[in-house]
């Protein structure tokens, strides 16, 4: 994962729009992919990607260079994504259920791919850890920093997510 020169971050934090634009261009595709898997909705992910970078801009002066910039951006995206999930729940006014509502593998949703349906059937905590590791290639440590959980928790969540997905694939769905 690309890590920007600290001077570029400082310039963006000081109000250099061109510098900030460079940061947006560097990370927007990664953020969108993360959010698309987290939210299961490409269009909503686009809106929340925008919201993520607005938040990044507002919070830039609080970035202390104690972590990688990429993990910090993903943590902002993750919080924006969770807010969007809550907001969507309110908007759709779903009745809370005891387990995450899963979409049928064969239901032919908008994305149309079983892999996305299977991902959406995971508990969101498993899903976000798995996507960071598997789709974006973060290390356990980086994912832990992004999610605000210990490395061991990431390891456990990725294992359980992978176990469910491999079991599902082995059942002949893919």
């Amino acid at each position: 994962m690309y890590e920007p020169d600290p001077a570029l971050i400082r310039a963006a934090s000081a109000g250099d729009t061109a510098a900030f634009e460079e940061l947006v261009r560097a990370y927007q595709a990664h953020v969108w992919r993360f959010l698309r898997h987290l939210l299961g909705d490409a269009t909503l992910a686009e809106d929340i990607t925008q919201e993520t970078f607005v938040r990044v801009y507002r919070k830039l002066e609080t970035f202390r260079f104690r972590s990688k910039f990429s993990t910090w951006v993903f943590s902002v995206a993750r919080n924006a994504g969770i807010d969007a999930l809550r907001s969507r729940r309110r908007r759709e006014q779903l009745i809370t259920v005891v387990a995450p509502r899963a979409h049928d593998v064969a239901s032919g949703g908008e994305l149309g791919f079983e892999i996305e349906s299977a991902l959406q059937s995971l508990n969101p905590k498993l899903r976000e850890a798995f996507v960071l590791i598997e789709a974006l290639g973060l290390s356990y440590r980086e994912a832990g920093l992004t999610l605000g959980v210990p490395e061991g928790t990431v390891k456990s969540r990725v294992f359980h997510a992978r176990e469910q997905l491999v079991s599902w694939m082995s059942a002949g769905e893919v």
């Binding site: 801009y57 509502r101 593998v105 064969a106 079983e114 390891k155 990725v158 294992f159 082995s170």
Partner: protein, 605 residues
């Protein structure tokens, strides 16, 4: 090595996260274990599937982001103060009827309206009308936005909505909220501006509309249903109790009957107009005055007023809205309404836009004759049938029937291997007898799952629950109870719940909700009640007898059945302790006042 430990170690090995000594040990094991190699093969396939999707183009949001930050993020404190001042005033008793004068309530058979709406859906075969919309409170700098448009419908599922923004904005930087939405059976497309956070308007709105095109769309898809409640509001009146009557009135030269409902109840109607484009949000407890054609039960007009509650006021502040319960936030009127007009042509999507293939191919499914219900409602004829094939070749068969706007769809597969019901019924279901077997209904009673001997079926439609059950019972499939390993095996009856949770209670005198779906675990009972539209609540009774620390900062003290409890507005959660039982009511669509009434009505059955 124990199997779980092995898989966990393999998972870390696959991610390159094993220390060198363990790494070598696992490499040795992989060479000798078919199970380990299979696991790694499957994990590798999964990774390649996820990483291959990088071919999908990520959108470029740079322009929107830069425009948003250029605008500045801070809300003005004055806005909060103005809302607070209105709140303190607290004199919202009067009701202002805007645009619909001379409403004089007349005694009518109001109780029949829900039934009449459901019956009327089969009578509407086509519809055209012009639309006039007024929206208030979208942005502090824009008092009011006005729109004109049109709606064209062709039974059973084709719909074209065109909305033109006539607002005179203060500057060119405000992008008009024009939108086009077309569903034409197999194809669908839409064009509208992208939404933006209120505080980032107007500069964050892209000048170009967002265009979406799909083809090979199955009939009545779960994910992208056409908003048919704009034609006859079936979802809004399924399971509905007797509505509050506003009266009779002529609207646009048509005889109308007015009822008062909540935004949650008619969410499908409201969302139908505002699902694309850049609109303000409406709170689920907002009050909606809905006027329906007395004969055809199609909408003629509706007006939305903010609910007059503390929680609604706080919600408005969070969204940056300066709402007052006296001022309508959305008014919509249908005019020049015409039913049964000759077929209208629908516009084709713009050229050059990438489209998405939803995988439906029209055909005659192999088991169609055997799976055609023996008890189809009179008037229903076959609509579209075929096979939905998704990315890797997995397929299920679909057949649909319709009569006007009413519809019925059967989907089945012989390859269902997951340990839950086929058909996306959700985790809370209820079991019902059907012929010699059993079926499962979702919370709303509009989706029925059948777990057969060698096939799994789901039946959906716009019909009332009883009619759907009749159709399910007439299928040549005997439904079995789900295996004990499936999530739905914890589905319970009231007697089950009483035996597993001491002091188990249910609401009494509850009207306007489907029979409950009950899920039990030792010491815990979870009961879901679904009402019309999106109204619903969850009742949880847990034998742990204590409240967990609150997860949100804003919590309010309340009293329920003489017990001190608390309400968390952000989560719509009312909870209290009665003896050894922790009781909670959760809803994002019912107000605190309604939840307290339900809480006070709880009694042991």
């Amino acid at each position: 090595m124990a199997p779980d430990r092995l898989l966990e170690t393999l998972s870390r090995y696959f991610d390159g996260e094993l220390p060198p000594d363990e790494h070598a040990e696992i490499e040795q094991l992989v060479t000798s274990s078919d199970e380990a190699r299979h696991y790694l093969d499957q994990a590798g396939l999964l990774r390649s599937l996820l990483r291959d999707e990088t071919a999908e183009t990520a959108p470029d949001v740079t322009t929107r982001v830069l425009a948003a930050i250029d605008r500045g993020p801070e809300r003005r404190p004055a806005r909060r103060l103005r809302v607070a001042a209105a709140f303190v005033a607290g004199v919202f008793g009067g009701v202002v009827f805007i645009g619909l004068a001379l409403r004089q309530p007349t005694p009518v058979a109001v109780a029949e309206i829900p039934e009449q709406v459901l019956a009327a859906q089969s009578q509407v075969t086509s519809l055209t009308a012009n639309l006039q919309l007024v929206e208030r409170g979208w942005h502090p700098d824009i008092d009011e936005r006005t729109f004109t448009g049109s709606i064209s419908y062709r039974a059973p599922e084709s719909l074209w909505i065109e909305i033109e923004d006539d607002t005179e904005y203060p500057a060119d930087s405000w992008v008009p909220n024009h939108s086009t939405y077309v569903v034409d059976e197999n194809n669908a497309w839409s064009s509208a501006v992208a939404g933006c956070p209120t505080e980032a308007l107007p500069s964050c709105t892209p000048a170009l509309p967002r265009v979406s095109v799909v083809h090979n769309r199955e009939p009545f898809p779960d994910a992208a249903q056409a908003p048919l409640d704009l034609v006859v509001p079936v979802a809004g009146f399924s399971r509905a109790e007797e509505p509050e009557i506003l009266g009779y009135e002529t609207i646009g030269e048509r005889p109308g009957v007015g009822v008062e409902v909540t935004a949650a109840q008619v969410a499908a109607l409201l969302d139908g107009l505002t699902r694309i484009g850049n609109w303000r949000e409406i709170h689920p407890t907002d009050r909606v005055e809905l006027w329906l054609d007395r004969d055809a039960l199609v909408p003629l007009a509706f007006t939305v007023y903010p609910a007059d509650t503390e929680d609604r006021g706080l919600w408005a502040v969070r969204h940056g809205y300066q709402d007052s319960p006296e001022t309508a936030i959305l008014e919509v009127t249908w005019s020049d309404l015409s039913l049964g007009e000759p077929d209208v042509g629908f516009p084709t999507p713009p050229r050059g836009v990438a489209d998405a293939d939803l995988g439906f191919v029209e055909s005659t499914p192999p088991d169609l004759e055997a799976l055609t219900p023996g008890d189809l409602p009179v008037g229903m004829t076959m609509h579209r049938s075929g096979t939905v094939t998704t990315g890797s070749g997995t397929s299920s068969h679909v057949v649909s029937w319709s009569d006007g706007r009413s519809w019925l769809k059967l989907r089945w597969t012989r390859d269902w291997d997951l340990s839950r019901l086929f058909g996306d019924l959700g985790a809370l279901v209820r079991e019902a007898p059907a012929g010699p077997g059993v079926v499962y209904l979702n919370e709303r009673g509009d989706r029925i799952g059948v777990h057969g001997e060698d096939l799994d079926v789901v039946l959906t439609g716009s019909l009332p629950t009883g009619a759907l059950l009749d159709v399910a019972a007439s299928l040549d499939v005997i439904g079995h109870q789900v295996p004990e390993t499936w999530a739905e095996s914890a589905t319970a009856t009231v007697d089950d719940a009483r035996s597993m949770v001491d002091g188990f209670k249910l609401p009494t005198g509850l009207e306007g909700f489907e029979d409950p779906a009950i899920h039990v675990e030792p010491g815990v009972a979870i009961v879901a009640f679904a009402g019309p539209g999106n109204r619903g609540f969850l009742l949880t009774q847990d034998a742990d007898g204590e409240l967990a620390p609150p997860l949100e900062a804003k919590v309010r003290g309340v009293t329920v059945q003489g017990n001190e409890g608390r309400y968390t507005p952000e989560r719509g959660l009312l909870e209290w302790v009665e003896g050894d039982l922790t009781v909670s009511l959760t809803s994002t669509t019912l107000s605190l006042e309604e939840l307290i009434v339900i809480g006070e009505s709880l009694r042991e059955p």
